[in-house]
Protein backbone atom coordinates (compact mmCIF):
# COMPACT_ATOMS: atom_id res chain seq x y z
CA UNK A 1 0.00 0.00 0.00
CA UNK A 2 1.14 3.44 -0.81
CA UNK A 3 2.61 5.26 2.08
CA UNK A 4 0.92 8.48 3.01
CA UNK A 5 3.34 11.21 3.83
CA UNK A 6 1.92 12.81 6.93
CA UNK A 7 4.14 14.61 9.31
CA UNK A 8 3.24 16.25 12.56
CA UNK A 9 5.78 18.97 12.91
CA UNK A 10 6.38 21.09 15.91
CA UNK A 11 9.78 20.46 17.24
CA UNK A 12 13.18 20.66 15.73
CA UNK A 13 13.64 16.99 16.45
CA UNK A 14 10.68 16.09 14.31
CA UNK A 15 11.86 18.54 11.70
CA UNK A 16 15.17 16.75 11.43
CA UNK A 17 13.27 13.50 10.90
CA UNK A 18 11.38 15.17 8.09
CA UNK A 19 14.56 16.14 6.36
CA UNK A 20 15.92 12.65 6.55
CA UNK A 21 12.71 11.15 5.18
CA UNK A 22 12.66 10.08 1.54
CA UNK A 23 9.27 9.40 0.13
CA UNK A 24 8.73 6.48 -2.17
CA UNK A 25 6.11 8.22 -4.26
CA UNK A 26 7.83 11.37 -5.44
CA UNK A 27 11.31 12.68 -5.48
CA UNK A 28 10.30 16.21 -6.29
CA UNK A 29 9.37 17.28 -2.77
CA UNK A 30 12.67 16.81 -1.01
CA UNK A 31 13.11 19.32 1.79
CA UNK A 32 16.79 19.97 1.86
CA UNK A 33 19.36 19.60 4.55
CA UNK A 34 20.16 23.23 3.98
CA UNK A 35 16.95 24.19 5.74
CA UNK A 36 18.28 22.69 8.95
CA UNK A 37 21.71 24.08 8.34
CA UNK A 38 20.31 27.35 7.03
CA UNK A 39 21.91 29.50 9.65
CA UNK A 40 25.36 28.34 8.64
CA UNK A 41 24.89 28.48 4.90
CA UNK A 42 25.90 31.78 3.36
CA UNK A 43 26.61 30.84 -0.22
CA UNK A 44 23.34 32.02 -1.69
CA UNK A 45 22.49 34.73 0.80
CA UNK A 46 20.91 37.84 -0.70
CA UNK A 47 23.54 40.41 -1.57
CA UNK A 48 22.92 43.08 1.00
CA UNK A 49 25.07 46.17 1.41
CA UNK A 50 27.24 46.54 4.47
CA UNK A 51 24.89 48.94 6.21
CA UNK A 52 21.97 51.28 5.74
CA UNK A 53 18.20 51.56 6.16
CA UNK A 54 15.71 50.64 3.45
CA UNK A 55 11.94 51.08 3.36
CA UNK A 56 9.70 48.39 1.90
CA UNK A 57 6.77 49.21 -0.34
CA UNK A 58 3.51 49.92 1.46
CA UNK A 59 1.44 46.77 0.89
CA UNK A 60 -2.34 46.95 1.02
CA UNK A 61 -3.87 43.97 2.81
CA UNK A 62 -7.47 43.22 3.60
CA UNK A 63 -6.80 44.67 7.04
CA UNK A 64 -4.99 47.83 5.97
CA UNK A 65 -1.60 49.09 4.85
CA UNK A 66 1.59 47.41 6.03
CA UNK A 67 5.03 48.92 5.50
CA UNK A 68 8.36 48.04 7.08
CA UNK A 69 11.89 49.48 7.28
CA UNK A 70 14.97 47.30 7.60
CA UNK A 71 18.32 48.22 9.03
CA UNK A 72 21.27 46.39 7.55
CA UNK A 73 24.52 46.03 9.45
CA UNK A 74 27.50 43.99 8.34
CA UNK A 75 25.54 42.70 5.36
CA UNK A 76 22.71 41.19 7.42
CA UNK A 77 19.31 42.39 8.55
CA UNK A 78 19.86 43.70 12.05
CA UNK A 79 16.34 44.91 12.76
CA UNK A 80 12.97 45.43 11.18
CA UNK A 81 10.66 48.25 12.14
CA UNK A 82 6.99 48.52 11.20
CA UNK A 83 6.37 51.97 9.69
CA UNK A 84 2.69 51.36 9.04
CA UNK A 85 0.40 48.72 10.46
CA UNK A 86 -3.40 48.52 10.28
CA UNK A 87 -5.07 50.01 13.33
CA UNK A 88 -8.57 50.81 12.19
CA UNK A 89 -10.38 49.14 15.01
CA UNK A 90 -9.86 47.26 18.22
CA UNK A 91 -9.56 43.89 16.51
CA UNK A 92 -6.73 45.15 14.31
CA UNK A 93 -4.95 46.62 17.31
CA UNK A 94 -5.15 43.27 19.06
CA UNK A 95 -3.76 41.54 16.00
CA UNK A 96 -0.95 44.04 15.68
CA UNK A 97 0.12 43.96 19.29
CA UNK A 98 0.69 40.30 18.92
CA UNK A 99 1.75 40.07 15.33
CA UNK A 100 4.22 42.87 14.83
CA UNK A 101 6.81 41.94 17.46
CA UNK A 102 6.57 38.32 16.37
CA UNK A 103 6.96 39.27 12.75
CA UNK A 104 9.98 41.38 13.61
CA UNK A 105 11.60 38.23 14.88
CA UNK A 106 10.37 36.32 11.86
CA UNK A 107 11.99 38.78 9.50
CA UNK A 108 15.38 38.23 11.03
CA UNK A 109 14.77 34.48 11.08
CA UNK A 110 13.72 34.47 7.44
CA UNK A 111 16.92 36.23 6.54
CA UNK A 112 19.02 33.68 8.34
CA UNK A 113 17.02 30.79 6.89
CA UNK A 114 17.39 32.22 3.36
CA UNK A 115 13.82 31.77 2.33
CA UNK A 116 12.69 33.13 -1.04
CA UNK A 117 8.98 32.93 -0.36
CA UNK A 118 6.71 32.17 2.54
CA UNK A 119 3.66 29.92 2.44
CA UNK A 120 1.24 30.55 5.26
CA UNK A 121 -2.35 31.15 6.17
CA UNK A 122 -2.37 34.76 7.27
CA UNK A 123 -2.89 37.79 5.10
CA UNK A 124 -1.49 40.43 7.44
CA UNK A 125 1.62 38.37 7.77
CA UNK A 126 1.77 38.10 4.01
CA UNK A 127 1.60 41.86 3.64
CA UNK A 128 4.41 42.17 6.07
CA UNK A 129 6.47 39.54 4.30
CA UNK A 130 5.95 41.21 0.94
CA UNK A 131 6.89 44.60 2.30
CA UNK A 132 9.93 42.99 3.87
CA UNK A 133 10.76 41.33 0.56
CA UNK A 134 10.58 44.65 -1.24
CA UNK A 135 12.87 46.25 1.34
CA UNK A 136 15.35 43.44 0.81
CA UNK A 137 15.04 43.87 -2.95
CA UNK A 138 15.67 47.58 -2.59
CA UNK A 139 18.68 47.02 -0.37
CA UNK A 140 20.09 44.62 -2.98
CA UNK A 141 19.32 46.79 -6.00
Amino acid sequence: MRRIAVWLLGTVTVLVLLFSYHTSTSSRFAPSQAAVAGRDATDDAPDLPESGTFDGDPVVTRFGVVQVRITVADGRIASVEALQVPNRDRHDVLINERAVPILNAEAVEAQSAQVDLVSGATITSQGYTLSLQSAIDRAGA
Binding site: R2, I4, A5, V6, W7, L8, L9, G10, L15, L18, T23, T25, S26, R28, F29, A30, P31, S32, A34, A35, G38, D44, D57, V59, V60, T61, R62, I95, A99, I102, L103, A105, E106, E109, A110, A113, Q114, V115, D116, L117, V118, S119, G120, A121, T122, I123, T124, S125, Q126, G127, L130, Q133, S134, D137, G140
Partner: protein, 247 residues
Protein backbone atom coordinates in the same frame (compact mmCIF):
# COMPACT_ATOMS: atom_id res chain seq x y z
CA UNK B 1 21.71 36.13 -12.15
CA UNK B 2 19.36 39.04 -11.50
CA UNK B 3 16.20 38.98 -9.53
CA UNK B 4 13.22 41.29 -9.65
CA UNK B 5 9.97 41.47 -7.70
CA UNK B 6 6.56 42.98 -8.34
CA UNK B 7 3.63 43.28 -5.95
CA UNK B 8 0.04 44.09 -6.87
CA UNK B 9 -3.16 43.98 -4.87
CA UNK B 10 -5.51 41.56 -6.67
CA UNK B 11 -8.47 39.50 -5.44
CA UNK B 12 -8.31 41.20 -2.06
CA UNK B 13 -4.77 40.07 -1.36
CA UNK B 14 -1.22 41.00 -2.25
CA UNK B 15 0.08 38.93 -5.17
CA UNK B 16 3.82 39.03 -5.72
CA UNK B 17 5.66 37.87 -8.83
CA UNK B 18 9.39 37.26 -8.65
CA UNK B 19 11.59 36.61 -11.67
CA UNK B 20 15.14 35.29 -11.74
CA UNK B 21 17.29 35.29 -14.83
CA UNK B 22 19.64 37.39 -16.95
CA UNK B 23 16.91 39.55 -18.55
CA UNK B 24 14.45 40.27 -15.74
CA UNK B 25 14.84 44.02 -16.31
CA UNK B 26 14.06 43.80 -20.01
CA UNK B 27 10.84 44.73 -21.81
CA UNK B 28 9.78 41.09 -22.31
CA UNK B 29 9.76 40.50 -18.56
CA UNK B 30 7.82 43.70 -18.03
CA UNK B 31 5.26 42.73 -20.64
CA UNK B 32 4.81 39.17 -19.34
CA UNK B 33 4.33 40.25 -15.73
CA UNK B 34 1.83 42.92 -16.78
CA UNK B 35 -0.06 40.29 -18.79
CA UNK B 36 -0.12 37.91 -15.82
CA UNK B 37 -1.55 40.59 -13.53
CA UNK B 38 -4.03 41.61 -16.21
CA UNK B 39 -5.31 38.03 -16.41
CA UNK B 40 -5.74 37.90 -12.63
CA UNK B 41 -7.64 41.20 -12.68
CA UNK B 42 -9.85 39.94 -15.52
CA UNK B 43 -10.68 36.68 -13.71
CA UNK B 44 -11.30 38.55 -10.45
CA UNK B 45 -13.70 40.80 -12.34
CA UNK B 46 -15.64 37.74 -13.49
CA UNK B 47 -15.59 35.73 -10.27
CA UNK B 48 -15.58 38.28 -7.46
CA UNK B 49 -18.19 37.63 -4.78
CA UNK B 50 -17.31 40.91 -3.08
CA UNK B 51 -18.45 43.10 -5.95
CA UNK B 52 -22.21 43.03 -6.47
CA UNK B 53 -21.90 43.94 -10.16
CA UNK B 54 -19.54 41.05 -11.06
CA UNK B 55 -20.99 38.40 -13.41
CA UNK B 56 -20.67 35.77 -10.68
CA UNK B 57 -22.54 37.95 -8.17
CA UNK B 58 -25.27 38.49 -10.74
CA UNK B 59 -25.36 34.76 -11.36
CA UNK B 60 -25.71 34.12 -7.64
CA UNK B 61 -28.63 36.51 -7.48
CA UNK B 62 -30.23 34.83 -10.48
CA UNK B 63 -29.73 37.82 -12.77
CA UNK B 64 -27.65 35.71 -15.12
CA UNK B 65 -28.73 32.37 -16.50
CA UNK B 66 -26.46 29.39 -15.90
CA UNK B 67 -23.78 29.06 -18.57
CA UNK B 68 -25.38 31.89 -20.52
CA UNK B 69 -22.47 34.06 -21.51
CA UNK B 70 -19.22 33.08 -19.84
CA UNK B 71 -17.59 29.79 -20.85
CA UNK B 72 -15.19 30.00 -17.88
CA UNK B 73 -18.16 29.66 -15.52
CA UNK B 74 -18.82 26.19 -16.87
CA UNK B 75 -15.15 25.28 -16.55
CA UNK B 76 -15.03 26.37 -12.90
CA UNK B 77 -18.32 24.67 -12.05
CA UNK B 78 -16.97 21.49 -13.59
CA UNK B 79 -13.76 21.77 -11.55
CA UNK B 80 -15.78 22.32 -8.36
CA UNK B 81 -17.70 19.12 -9.06
CA UNK B 82 -14.48 17.19 -9.74
CA UNK B 83 -12.90 18.60 -6.57
CA UNK B 84 -15.89 17.61 -4.43
CA UNK B 85 -15.79 14.11 -5.88
CA UNK B 86 -12.01 13.59 -5.60
CA UNK B 87 -11.85 14.89 -2.02
CA UNK B 88 -14.76 12.72 -0.92
CA UNK B 89 -16.83 15.81 -0.19
CA UNK B 90 -14.23 17.60 1.94
CA UNK B 91 -14.08 20.36 -0.66
CA UNK B 92 -17.30 22.16 -1.44
CA UNK B 93 -18.29 25.23 -3.39
CA UNK B 94 -21.57 25.37 -1.46
CA UNK B 95 -20.95 27.54 1.56
CA UNK B 96 -23.31 29.03 4.16
CA UNK B 97 -23.93 32.76 3.79
CA UNK B 98 -24.61 35.13 6.70
CA UNK B 99 -28.14 33.76 6.99
CA UNK B 100 -26.90 30.15 7.00
CA UNK B 101 -28.21 29.38 3.51
CA UNK B 102 -25.91 27.26 1.34
CA UNK B 103 -24.89 29.25 -1.74
CA UNK B 104 -22.58 28.58 -4.67
CA UNK B 105 -19.21 30.21 -3.93
CA UNK B 106 -16.25 28.88 -5.94
CA UNK B 107 -13.86 31.46 -4.41
CA UNK B 108 -11.78 28.81 -2.68
CA UNK B 109 -11.03 27.16 -6.00
CA UNK B 110 -10.88 30.21 -8.27
CA UNK B 111 -7.78 31.64 -6.61
CA UNK B 112 -5.51 28.69 -7.42
CA UNK B 113 -7.10 28.18 -10.82
CA UNK B 114 -6.64 31.86 -11.71
CA UNK B 115 -2.99 31.90 -10.63
CA UNK B 116 -2.31 28.76 -12.71
CA UNK B 117 -3.85 30.48 -15.73
CA UNK B 118 -2.13 33.84 -15.21
CA UNK B 119 1.28 32.18 -14.76
CA UNK B 120 1.10 30.83 -18.32
CA UNK B 121 2.14 34.34 -19.34
CA UNK B 122 5.48 33.81 -17.56
CA UNK B 123 6.49 30.40 -18.91
CA UNK B 124 7.76 31.75 -22.24
CA UNK B 125 10.37 34.08 -20.71
CA UNK B 126 13.75 32.87 -21.94
CA UNK B 127 16.18 31.56 -19.30
CA UNK B 128 13.87 32.76 -16.55
CA UNK B 129 12.60 31.16 -13.35
CA UNK B 130 9.45 32.68 -11.87
CA UNK B 131 7.36 32.49 -8.74
CA UNK B 132 3.94 33.79 -7.82
CA UNK B 133 2.91 34.19 -4.19
CA UNK B 134 -0.83 34.79 -3.85
CA UNK B 135 -1.59 35.49 -0.23
CA UNK B 136 0.60 32.70 1.07
CA UNK B 137 -0.06 30.17 -1.68
CA UNK B 138 2.88 29.76 -4.02
CA UNK B 139 3.32 28.65 -7.64
CA UNK B 140 6.77 28.43 -9.22
CA UNK B 141 8.04 27.50 -12.65
CA UNK B 142 10.78 28.01 -15.20
CA UNK B 143 11.43 28.26 -18.89
CA UNK B 144 11.76 24.78 -20.38
CA UNK B 145 15.45 25.38 -21.10
CA UNK B 146 16.20 26.05 -17.42
CA UNK B 147 17.17 22.70 -15.90
CA UNK B 148 14.94 21.41 -13.06
CA UNK B 149 17.93 20.06 -11.14
CA UNK B 150 21.62 20.76 -10.84
CA UNK B 151 23.79 23.80 -10.28
CA UNK B 152 21.91 26.04 -12.72
CA UNK B 153 18.46 25.12 -11.43
CA UNK B 154 18.47 27.33 -8.30
CA UNK B 155 15.10 26.14 -6.98
CA UNK B 156 12.92 28.56 -5.06
CA UNK B 157 13.15 28.02 -1.33
CA UNK B 158 9.64 28.19 0.03
CA UNK B 159 9.38 28.52 3.79
CA UNK B 160 6.26 27.18 5.49
CA UNK B 161 5.21 29.22 8.50
CA UNK B 162 4.82 27.51 11.83
CA UNK B 163 1.16 28.28 12.62
CA UNK B 164 1.84 28.32 16.36
CA UNK B 165 5.05 30.29 16.35
CA UNK B 166 5.57 32.52 13.39
CA UNK B 167 9.12 33.26 14.36
CA UNK B 168 9.80 29.83 12.93
CA UNK B 169 9.39 27.89 9.74
CA UNK B 170 8.29 24.27 10.02
CA UNK B 171 9.81 23.38 6.68
CA UNK B 172 11.59 24.75 3.68
CA UNK B 173 10.46 23.30 0.37
CA UNK B 174 12.93 23.70 -2.51
CA UNK B 175 10.93 23.65 -5.72
CA UNK B 176 11.72 24.56 -9.32
CA UNK B 177 8.31 23.67 -10.75
CA UNK B 178 5.07 23.22 -8.84
CA UNK B 179 2.84 24.66 -6.16
CA UNK B 180 2.78 24.93 -2.37
CA UNK B 181 -0.47 25.81 -0.62
CA UNK B 182 -1.11 26.15 3.10
CA UNK B 183 -4.52 26.20 4.73
CA UNK B 184 -5.08 26.81 8.39
CA UNK B 185 -6.71 28.85 11.08
CA UNK B 186 -3.56 30.13 12.74
CA UNK B 187 -4.26 33.81 13.08
CA UNK B 188 -7.42 34.71 11.26
CA UNK B 189 -9.79 32.60 13.31
CA UNK B 190 -12.29 30.19 11.83
CA UNK B 191 -12.54 30.93 8.13
CA UNK B 192 -12.62 27.36 6.86
CA UNK B 193 -15.81 25.35 6.62
CA UNK B 194 -16.21 21.61 7.04
CA UNK B 195 -19.02 20.51 4.71
CA UNK B 196 -19.26 17.06 6.27
CA UNK B 197 -19.70 18.28 9.84
CA UNK B 198 -21.48 21.41 8.52
CA UNK B 199 -19.61 23.79 10.75
CA UNK B 200 -16.65 26.13 10.78
CA UNK B 201 -13.30 24.65 11.69
CA UNK B 202 -11.66 26.36 14.65
CA UNK B 203 -8.73 24.12 15.45
CA UNK B 204 -5.29 25.69 15.33
CA UNK B 205 -2.72 24.46 12.90
CA UNK B 206 -2.17 24.23 9.20
CA UNK B 207 -1.96 21.77 6.37
CA UNK B 208 0.49 22.23 3.51
CA UNK B 209 0.28 20.47 0.17
CA UNK B 210 2.83 20.38 -2.65
CA UNK B 211 1.35 19.54 -6.05
CA UNK B 212 1.80 20.23 -9.76
CA UNK B 213 -0.78 23.00 -9.88
CA UNK B 214 -1.90 25.61 -7.38
CA UNK B 215 -5.48 24.64 -8.18
CA UNK B 216 -5.01 21.19 -6.68
CA UNK B 217 -2.50 22.14 -3.99
CA UNK B 218 -5.00 24.65 -2.63
CA UNK B 219 -8.00 22.33 -2.92
CA UNK B 220 -6.20 19.54 -1.09
CA UNK B 221 -4.71 21.79 1.59
CA UNK B 222 -8.18 22.99 2.52
CA UNK B 223 -9.80 19.56 2.16
CA UNK B 224 -7.15 17.90 4.33
CA UNK B 225 -7.34 20.60 6.96
CA UNK B 226 -11.11 20.45 7.37
CA UNK B 227 -11.48 16.75 6.60
CA UNK B 228 -10.57 13.74 8.66
CA UNK B 229 -9.34 10.28 7.82
CA UNK B 230 -11.69 10.06 4.84
CA UNK B 231 -10.04 13.11 3.25
CA UNK B 232 -6.60 11.59 3.81
CA UNK B 233 -7.65 8.35 2.22
CA UNK B 234 -9.07 10.29 -0.71
CA UNK B 235 -5.76 12.16 -1.00
CA UNK B 236 -3.77 8.92 -1.03
CA UNK B 237 -6.06 7.50 -3.69
CA UNK B 238 -6.72 10.52 -5.89
CA UNK B 239 -3.67 12.79 -5.67
CA UNK B 240 -0.76 10.76 -7.05
CA UNK B 241 2.53 12.63 -6.82
CA UNK B 242 1.25 15.25 -4.39
CA UNK B 243 2.74 15.57 -0.91
CA UNK B 244 1.24 16.84 2.32
CA UNK B 245 2.29 17.68 5.80
CA UNK B 246 0.49 18.90 8.88
CA UNK B 247 1.83 21.47 11.29
Amino acid sequence: MSRRAWVEQVMGMPVSIHLRGPEVRGPEAERAVAAAYAELVRLDGLFSTYRPESPLSRRRRGDLAAGSDEPLFAEVEGLCAVAAERTGGAFTAWLPDDAGELRYDPTGLVKGWAVDRAARELTGLTATSWSVNAGGDVLVGRHHHVPPEGADAAPWRIGVEDPRDRTRMVAVVPLSTGAVATSGTAARGAHLYDPVAQQAVDRVGSMTVVADTLLWADIWATALFVGGDAAREAFARNAPGAQMFAA
